[in-house]
């Protein structure tokens, strides 16, 4: 029996694909809403952003051991980032729908009468969208057990990745009537976001490598084996470098770049989760 109780460095196995999907949809939805405000995109984009966030919440509920008790996750907003996140998601879904309502006949009865009220609703929805992008980073950073995550830098990386994925989604649907001037602006932002994510990612890995045994092991796992291949080929090459080259040199197939960014965005979240190596036992 004792031989099963070894002291090797191990990565967490609690969170995997389902949580990665939740973070992917939530982040993309939050980012999409902010981009739709920034570039004054059609109301349908804002509605889609709400749907993405809601879809992420559904995936999260599926992952719970007791989905019917999910309402309890609202109980500890003063201490738990998961609880705060659930609040933000709820706020965003409610205010995101209210903000988008005037653009749809079916929802017009929800539309506020005055512009000032709509602006206020828009601000609340935008702030909660920003928090929806940020909170997963805070959830992970709250674990002192996993040095690779335990960094105040992580929420920022999640937010930037969410915006990048949201821009990728817009590239993907650009051919369905996105104004070319707006597409040019989003493409420019997309390039900046990809470069920023590459730089921040490299800095983050460099920092993690120097943060002790567990951090070093996490970086090693992202550079070796199957997780390493997923990270290097899926996240970096397919998810960032290839789209960057396409946007800059072959903008006519920007939808392909969008697809690659989406795939890379999902894999990024999966890799970050699976590289969560625990601090070693005090024997090592």
């Amino acid at each position: 029996m004792a031989h099963e109780f070894n002291t090797e460095l191990v990565a967490q196995e609690e969170w995997g694909w389902l949580l990665a999907l939740d973070l992917f949809f939530g982040g993309m939805g939050g980012g999409l809403f902010l981009l739709s405000l920034s570039f004054n995109l059609p109301a349908s984009v804002a509605v889609v952003s709400v749907l993405f966030v809601a879809l992420g919440a559904v995936v999260l509920m599926i992952e719970l051991g007791h989905p019917l008790r999910a309402w309890r996750a609202l109980c500890k907003p003063f201490s738990s980032w998961i609880s705060r996140g659930v609040f933000c998601v709820t706020l965003f879904v409610v205010f995101g729908i209210l903000y988008s309502a005037p653009g749809f006949d079916a929802l017009s009865w929800l539309a506020p009468d005055s512009d000032s009220v709509r602006r206020t609703i828009g601000v609340i929805a935008a702030v909660s969208a920003l928090l929806v992008m940020l909170y997963p980073g805070f959830v992970l950073a709250a674990s002192p057990s996993i040095p690779f995550w335990n960094s105040s830098f992580l929420p920022l990386i999640f937010a930037f990745h969410s915006l990048m994925v949201a821009s990728g989604f817009l590239f993907l649907i650009a051919s369905w009537g996105l104004d070319s001037a707006k597409l040019a602006g989003i493409s420019f932002l997309g390039v900046i976001l990809i470069v920023a994510n590459l730089v921040m990612g490299a800095m983050y890995l460099g920092n993690a490598k120097g943060s002790g045994l567990a951090g070093k092991e996490a970086v090693r796992r992202l550079n070796a084996g199957s997780l390493g291949r997923t990270f290097q080929l899926g996240v970096v090459l397919l998810g960032m470098i290839a789209p960057l080259l396409i946007i800059v040199w072959v903008p006519s197939v920007v939808a392909l770049a969008g697809l690659f960014i989406l795939i890379g965005g999902l894999l990024f979240r999966y890799c970050v989760l699976k590289a969560g190596v625990y601090v070693p036992f005090p024997l090592t």
Binding site: F5, T7, V10, Q12, G65, R69, R72, A142, S143, P144
Partner: protein, 215 residues
Amino acid sequence: MAVNGKAVASHNGKVPRWGMAIDLKRCVGCQSCTLACKAENGTPREIFWMRVLEQEEGTYPQARKVFLPIRCNHCAEPPCVPVCPTGASYKRSRDNLVLINQDKCIGCRACIVACPYQVRFIPEDTKGYYGEELTPYEAKRYQKWQPRTVQKCTFCEHRLETGDQPACVQTCPTRALVFGDLNDPESEITKLVRARHHFQPRAELGTDPSLYYLT
């Protein structure tokens, strides 16, 4: 609250803080604590609230095995508690035990991930060691565990209520485990910690564990 039949009052105005000193010089890695815990608490299949890690050190002919009994540290600053979104994980104010209310647990696993000691567990199903059909022992003992909710060592709180020591402590044949109130300056554990070289596991993380390894 009592231990060994002795009522434990608050000391210096403080409520008890139950803790354990583990003498690494005495531990022989026999895993009797592991089995005593399993038998006492009837934990689900493949879940061991307490276990003894082992590692080989040195090279032949100077090779030796070292052992490290691990379990919930009932930290004074438990990282598993603030991450819980429902309040299912909590620190009981009357004796500082870190416990779980299964009825409130939603199975989000945040506490499992937040624990630096890897001593929180979640049974995925209700199967026993021999499959779907439970043995009479399993059928009785597993009743108290809700599948897909988190569980962990309770320092045998049910035994503390009746004045007994945790099962692992009572079983240890080498007296490597010493249990008591860390807030009582006259308790055996406090005296041991004062007298012996010791370390708290991963204390640098700010968890202030109630486990002391005596070296």
